[in-house]
């Protein structure tokens, strides 16, 4: 034992012990915070086939960072080189020590192998291992170099704005960055003295002017110190994401979801955020209004360090643009809702006045739910009624007279009890109508019906329904090849529910659909999303103008959308024609 001990390993050992102690303590505490339903899901699925895709995703994301690669090659390389490179350095180093030193040995020998084993060629392919280890070290160092350049000039990796970190994160980052240069130097000095280095360390070692025992010891001590400091800081800094992401992916793959209230799972999500800052560039509040400090990265950090202010939680459009870019795929919108929880303000029995609304027997009819906003754009329900009549479909216009909100606007603001009251009423009306299909014109209601309601019947957005009618030949439309249109993906329909193709197919069958620079997952919010209650009209207009500009590229004859709110927002601002998909289809109905 004493042969493989030297006092410089103490900081490293302390760091490792603290790291694992804190991590295990935190993970157990958070796991205890899971609610009964979440635990039941884990118990049910833990020995199922879902285990395999989870492992695959963990390798692809936690080690290789595939999603960041897709975004920017250099940024992906930076993350992969540090994460995957370091991982391989540990694994290969472990085997090298295992083969190189026979018999029992303390765990730190693998980390400080060169210091304890001056001989090379201790086993047949030792030389190969030496070169591979040097190659891996170079791989990691290249990533650290990019990270350093990124700190000074983040545009090199395609990021306009980088995260402003708290001082503690800077401290952890510096200790991380120190690890690998010190490893290089210490191994080089040892190589200079004992000629046991690879292509990199031996070359550098031969150049180094001072190579004696004292210099060697100092460098190894510094290497051990930076490791120890980083490991100690890790559970409290953003680098907690390294381990947490693994658990998060695993739980998510098992089927665990966010709740209305903060739970242990939320704690995993908070710590899985690496504060990479990719969400900052995505946020329309940053892009158009230059509002800082409200983006998801800061929001999650503030929750984690318990310094969240209400106006930061409230100042978000809930357009989920950041969530679609997030490389960890955190459920940012759900966490936002949890933090907006209104507690005592969220009262019961506010909507007793709805008790008088009675259901209609709509057997063998479809239910049409226009949604509150559609009442402000009467063209959309009118068009839908016309379409129903054309295809001979009997329908019940559920909210024609008595318009009940679907409850999602309340939920977005954290009134969970009140929202559930509205949901209960609507569910009751729909179930009692005995209809088989619910069609809605409002993406907000659609998302609510599909995700928050537990309806026994199928729910469709009107674009899906029209698409189905056209494809099945029930609705015949004429294609106008001279009409150029652009399509605006509403946040709630596109990113919210993943409906991108149906409206596009419909538009392609009646007109010529043009591409816009930002579309599908990258579509811009119209600014009037009900998620935000902080920004004022003038600010909303700025966001809308940016979205409008995007839609007007290529001078289309018509701007199409599938959301009454977006339509209302755009109609006010432009001379150009704005229409809902349904309204356009009605004009093009053929024989």
């Amino acid at each position: 034992m004493s042969k493989y001990f030297s006092p410089f390993v103490i900081p490293f050992c302390i760091g490792v012990v603290l790291l694992f102690a804190f991590c295990i303590w935190k993970y157990i505490r958070w796991y205890k915070g899971f609610d009964r339903l979440q635990r039941a899901i884990i118990r049910k699925n833990i020995f199922s086939w879902k285990f395999l895709p989870a492992i695959w995703e963990i390798v692809m994301e936690s080690l290789l960072h595939r999603r960041i690669f897709k975004r920017n090659l250099l940024l992906g390389y930076m993350h992969a080189s540090i994460a995957f490179g370091w991982f391989l350095l540990i694994v290969v180093g472990f085997f090298e020590a295992e083969f190189g030193i026979q018999g029992s040995k303390p765990f730190w020998v693998a980390i400080f192998y060169r210091f304890f084993q001056h001989e090379h060629n201790t086993f047949p392919s030792a030389a190969v291992f030496t070169q591979v280890m040097d190659g891996l070290l170079l791989f990691v160092l290249s990533g650290i170099t990019i990270a350093f350049v990124k700190m000074i000039y983040s545009r090199i990796v395609g990021m306009k704005k980088a995260t402003k970190h708290v001082i503690f994160d800077h401290f952890a980052r510096v200790s991380l960055w120190c690890i690998f240069p010190f490893r290089l130097l210490s191994e080089s000095v040892t190589a200079a003295m004992y000629h046991n280095g690879g292509f990199l360390t031996q070359t550098i070692g031969d150049i180094l002017p001072f190579a004696n025992e004292y210099v060697e010891y100092t460098y190894w001590l510094l290497y051990s110190l930076s490791l120890g400091v980083f490991f100690t800081a890790m559970p409290f800094s953003r680098y907690m994401h390294i381990f947490t992401e693994v658990f998060l992916i695993y739980f998510r793959r098992l089927g665990v979801k966010e709740n209305e209230q903060k739970s242990g799972y939320t704690m995993y999500e908070l710590s899985a955020c690496s504060r990479c800052g990719i969400c900052i560039d995505a946020c329309p509040l940053n892009k158009q209004l230059d509002i800082k400090g409200v983006q998801s990265v800061y929001f999650l950090r503030d929750i984690r360090y318990k310094m969240l202010k209400d106006e930061i939680a409230d100042n978000c459009l809930m357009c989920s643009r950041c969530a679609s870019d997030c490389p960890v795929q955190l459920d940012l919108m759900a966490i936002r809702r949890q933090m907006r929880d209104k507690k005592e303000l969220d009262t019961k029995n506010n909507y007793r006045y709805l008790d008088t609304v009675r259901a209609f027997n709509a057997m063998d009819r479809v239910v049409y739910f226009a949604g509150c906003m559609s009442h402000l754009t009467p063209g959309i329900p009118d068009a839908m009624e016309k379409i129903f009549e054309t295809v001979g479909q009997k329908y019940w216009y559920m909210d024609k007279e008595a318009s009940i909100c679907c409850g999602r606007p309340l939920m977005q603001q954290g009134f969970h009890t009140q929202a559930s009251e509205l949901r209960r009423k609507n569910t009751q009306l729909i179930v009692q109508s005995h209809a088989r299909l619910l069609i809605t014109s409002c993406p907000i209601c659609y998302q609510s019906f599909t995700k928050e309601y537990k309806l026994p019947i199928k729910v469709m957005h009107h674009t899906e329904y029209i698409d189905m009618l056209i494809k099945s030949g029930k609705l015949k439309v004429n294609k106008d090849a001279s009409l150029k249109v652009t399509y605006h993906d509403p946040c709630e329909l596109g990113r919210g529910c993943g409906i991108y193709d149906e409206p596009r197919d419909v538009l392609n069958s009646v007109a010529v659909l043009m591409k816009t620079p930002e579309e599908r997952e990258h579509s811009l919010c119209c600014g009037f999303n009900l998620g935000n209650t902080v920004i004022e009209l003038e600010q909303q207009e700025k966001i809308r103008n940016a979205a409008l500009e995007n839609l007007q590229t290529g001078n289309p004859d018509l701007i199409c959308t599938a959301c009454p709110m977006c339509k209302k927002a755009f109609t006010r601002a432009t001379e150009a024609k704005v229409m809902d998909v349904a309204e356009l289809v009605v004009k093009k109905i053929g024989e």
Partner: protein, 117 residues
């Protein structure tokens, strides 16, 4: 609804004594929702309101009452709102009515305020 039943209603006098008036809540609301002041009392919000279809909930009235610092029972009067946001979208003056309603509720239900009274 009361008005409809009898054709008339009796209101309590609503004069404000400017010397004793306490406008702290109003100031607080104006700070949270700067657009509050823009209102010209046109009533478009009440006209489009979904809750108004079922009850005598009246945003314009609530706005006026709050401005005149008549907070009696305003807290409960705000409850029928479904926050659907139609009022905000139709407002010709760009008053952020959803935010106004939420903040009014927040201010009026603040336990600190009740302690002071």
């Amino acid at each position: 609804m009361r008005n409809l039943k009898f054709g008339f209603a009796i209101s309590i006098p609503r004069s404000i004594n400017m010397d004793t008036a306490d406008n702290r809540l109003l100031k607080q609301l104006e700070e949270e929702v700067p657009s509050f002041k823009r209102c010209m009392n046109c009533g478009a919000c009440s006209a489009t309101c979904s809750a108004r279809q079922f009850t005598d909930y009246n945003i314009r009235r609530i706005h006026s009452l709050f401005r005149m610092q008549q907070y009696q029972d305003l807290e409960n009067e705000l409850k029928p709102c479904m926050l659907c946001g139609k009022c905000t979208l139709v407002c010709p003056r760009g008053v952020n009515l959803r935010s106004m309603i939420m903040n009014m509720r927040k201010i009026l239900t603040d336990p600190k305020r009740k302690d002071n009274e």
